[in-house]
Structure formats: structure tokens, C-alpha cells
């Protein structure tokens, strides 16, 4: 980043939101050693995703720059950073917290939007079609249900209701 970050214009409520969300509590422990970035298989290939920088951006209150970024969706969830971190920051979980906050602000990656809708309708990320059950039958595998009514109810109970992405 080449431009100056003006802290007085940044949103420190964002840092506190991350801190107060279950899973985000440990972010203040980070002493910026960079073990996460060194170990990250995504960082190794794609400059956009830099774990140490993401932590710093949250601590500096750079809410929009984090939540509206491409990188917020790029954690591969491999937990290498979580294991290597000397301060038990639990970055994989913090990335989940950041994605959850983005969704609560109406920002969701289209791939996740699709998965939410498929799971709501069919209970799984891939729909089981008649073709699949026929093939399963030929192989001697038991058929699977094509819908699950509990899913709609679960989404209602937790408040994950239909949400149109803002972008």
C-alpha cells in the first residue's frame, strides 16, 4: 500500500466488533511476527492474501478495506497459521469472524450465496437428483433424500434469512 492511512478517519468500532465476536478475542495478542504469512499456502501464490496485513488492517480499523476486499474470502481454511502462531491468535477463526461480519453487512461472495440457497433447499451443497439415486442404486448404494425440511426451519431459527447482496 502506497497511500497514507489516516487513523482519525478509521473505524475503531470495527476492531472492537471483531474483539467481541466469539472467535475474534485473541486478535490483540498478535505481535506481528509474520509466522502466519510465512506459512500460508495462499499467500505463497497470491499477493492479495496476506494474513499479517489483514490482522493489522483490522487493528487499524480499516473496516471497508477489509470487508469489501477480495482477500476476505481467500482463506483456504487449512489451519497452518493457527498451528504455527506463537501467540495463539487463531487466525483461521478470525477469518471466519470477518466473513461472518461481512455477511451481516450484506456483503457476500456469490459462491457462498449459491451454497446457502442450495443447502436451504436441498440440505446439501449438491442437489441429489433422480439420476444420482438411480446411479447409486445400480452401484448397490442406498438412496438419499432430495430435500430436508429442517433446513428452512434452521435458517429461520438462527436468522440466516434470505439476503440479497448489496454489491
Amino acid at each position: 500500500m502506497s497511500s497514507i492511512i489516516y487513523l482519525d478517519k478509521k473505524n475503531l468500532a470495527f476492531k472492537n466488533l471483531v474483539l467481541s465476536t466469539p472467535g475474534g478475542e485473541n486478535i490483540l495478542r498478535c505481535f506481528a511476527c509474520g509466522a502466519c504469512s510465512a506459512a500460508c499456502p495462499v499467500r505463497e501464490i497470491d499477493e492479495r492474501y496476506n494474513p499479517r496485513r489483514i490482522i493489522r488492517m483490522v487493528l487499524l480499523g480499516m473496516k471497508d478495506e477489509v470487508l469489501r476486499s477480495d482477500f476476505v474470502w481467500l482463506c483456504a481454511s487449512c489451519y497452518t497459521c493457527t498451528e504455527r502462531c506463537p501467540q495463539d491468535v487463531h487466525l483461521t477463526t478470525i477469518m471466519r469472524v470477518l466473513k461472518n461480519i461481512a455477511v451481516s453487512e450484506g456483503i457476500i461472495h456469490p459462491a457462498y450465496q449459491t451454497q446457502v440457497e442450495t443447502i436451504r433447499k436441498h440440505g446439501k451443497i449438491y442437489e441429489i437428483e433422480d439420476f444420482d439415486n438411480k446411479k447409486r442404486g445400480r452401484l448397490g448404494l442406498p438412496p438419499l433424500e432430495k430435500q430436508n425440511p429442517d433446513m428452512v426451519r434452521i435458517f429461520e431459527l438462527t436468522g440466516l434469512t434470505k439476503r440479497e447482496p448489496k454489491d
Binding site: C75, C78, E83, G123, L141
Partner: protein, 292 residues
């Protein structure tokens, strides 16, 4: 042994039927009772990135279904293993979280008391059958073959949820399971690297680059196949192998096998019964080396 309900998750029933076939066959041969519960849903893992409380409730509902059937849970996808193991621990350790989840489960006429054990099938083989007992049953040793073990991140990590089962930095269990079949389990530079599967729907080009690193390394090591225990890792290395080849102008033709498939061969089971005819990268050379 308490019965285990086979938890298939989303990917296996439609995209990894060879894995399911081989797992069921091995369980039958080794007298491991596997129960089918037809209204399991997605474990909750993909939803965790969207809405944690929903994923927790989905996982809890699956655990409660197993409990209703007096069964433990046997997973064969590593992401399901991680999601269900972690949720199980959260609900056992925190009365507050358990009460909150149960309040919602009651709306579905369900409850979770926390009595279920979650184990990946491979861990079940190790802990309920044992390396020695498995080795004694080998009738067709795979001596001619060199395999590269691919553990899959969620089989090992986060280590905090797996109570010392295997090391994340120097894992051994899958190597040992391969070795007892008579095959060689090789050590290689990219052994611990992630398949990139979680990013396939998010950024395909990036996910394929992550997978490519391991495939390149395996070709350099001249292995007969990569052996793995997660359907999504297989989607990356097998289903997307052609796409990686065409995108990056390279060639692999590297067979991708599930551990129960190679264990089945070593137990003398016919390849067709283990779903070998459904592998997309034909493992013909592997079978020819064994003369089957």
C-alpha cells in the same frame, strides 16, 4: 463396538461413489457395523464462513440424529470430520452453548446430550481394528507400489480438537496404514500442503495453482499414485487434473486413490468392488503392477 453411522456429507454421495463403495466394502469385510441415517444434511462446514451459529446448529442436528439412533459418527470427508468434531467438543464443554443450541433443536423436536463420538473412518481402522490386526489380514501385498500419502488439512488440524491423535508437522498414521499394505509410502517436499479445495468455488485459478504445486512435486517423485482420505482433496487432484494440465500446459496422468481402495486391494478384494472403474484418472498401471 458401538455402531457407527456413516456420515457421507455433500460431496461423497454424488462425486466420490468409489470412496463410498470401498469404505462400505472394507467395513463389511472387517465386521465394522455401519448404520445409514437418511436425513443427515451437510455437516455445516460451508455455512461456517457465512453464519457461524447456523453451521453450529446444522452440525448439532447431525450429532443429535446419531444420538437418537444410539450411534457414533464415522466421517469420510475431512472437512465433515473437523466441523463435527469441533462442534461436538464445543457442545460438551460449554453448557451455555449447549443450552442455546438445544433451545433451537427443541423447535425441531430434537435434543443433543453430547454422547456421540466422531471419528474419521481411517481413525476408526487404527483405533478399533489396529495396525497389527489389519496387517495380519493382508493377502495381496502391494509390494510393487510407491504411494504418496496426502493427509488433508482437516484430518490433522486444528490439533486442539484431535487430542494428540497425529502430528500436524510430521504426521504418521496414513504412512503407517499405507506401509502395512506392503506398499512404499514416500516422504516428499509438498507432503503437508493443502489441496486448495476450499477456494475452488471462490477463485478457481488460485485453487488450481495451489493443487498444481503438489502434483508437480509428485511427478518429480515418480509415484504410482497419490493416496488420500477426503473427497474434496480428490476433486482437486483427480477431477481437476485435466483442467490443471490444460491451464498450465503440463501433463500428469497421476492416479488418485482413496485409502480404502488400496487397503481393499491388499485384502484381496476385486478392483471393481472397490470402485476402481470409476476413477477418472485410470489407475490401469497400478492394477497391472499387481497383476489384477
Amino acid at each position: 463396538m458401538n455402531p457407527y453411522a456413516l456420515f457421507l456429507g455433500c460431496t461423497i454421495p454424488v462425486r466420490a461413489q468409489n470412496y463410498e463403495l470401498a469404505t462400505r466394502k472394507i467395513a463389511a469385510v472387517l465386521n465394522i457395523p455401519l448404520l445409514d441415517i437418511d436425513n443427515f444434511t451437510c455437516c455445516g462446514f460451508p455455512i461456517d464462513s457465512v453464519h457461524h451459529k447456523t453451521s453450529l446448529l446444522m452440525a448439532a442436528r447431525n450429532l443429535a440424529l446419531a444420538e437418537q439412533n444410539n450411534a457414533n459418527l464415522c466421517t469420510i470427508c475431512t472437512a465433515c470430520t473437523g466441523m463435527l468434531t469441533e462442534t461436538n467438543l464445543v457442545l460438551r464443554d460449554s453448557a451455555t452453548q449447549r443450552d442455546e443450541v438445544n433451545q433451537k433443536l427443541r423447535e425441531l423436536g430434537m435434543e443433543y446430550r453430547g454422547t456421540v463420538e466422531v471419528k474419521h473412518f481411517v481413525r476408526l481402522l487404527i483405533e478399533e481394528v489396529g495396525f497389527k490386526a489389519l496387517q495380519e489380514k493382508i493377502t495381496r501385498p502391494l509390494n510393487a507400489l510407491r504411494f504418496a500419502p496426502h493427509y488433508g488439512c482437516h484430518y490433522l488440524k486444528p490439533t486442539a480438537i484431535y487430542s494428540g491423535f497425529d502430528s500436524d508437522e510430521n504426521p504418521q498414521t496414513l504412512d503407517q496404514l499405507i506401509t502395512l499394505t506392503g506398499a512404499e509410502s514416500i516422504s516428499y517436499e509438498e507432503k503437508l500442503s493443502c489441496c486448495g479445495g476450499a477456494l475452488l468455488a471462490i477463485d478457481e485459478g488460485l485453487a488450481l495453482k495451489i493443487s498444481k504445486k503438489k502434483l508437480d512435486n509428485l511427478i518429480a517423485n515418480r509415484v504410482d499414485a497419490i493416496v488420500l482420505i477426503c473427497p474434496f482433496c480428490s476433486i482437486m487432484y483427480e477431477s481437476n487434473q485435466r483442467k490443471i494440465e490444460s491451464t498450465f500446459q503440463t501433463e500428469y496422468h497421476l492416479p488418485v486413490l482413496y485409502y480404502p481402495q488400496i487397503l481393499g486391494l491388499a485384502l484381496g478384494i476385486e478392483p471393481k468392488e472397490l470402485g476402481f472403474n470409476q476413477n477418472r484418472v485410470r489407475p490401469t498401471a497400478v492394477l497391472e503392477k499387481l497383476g489384477v
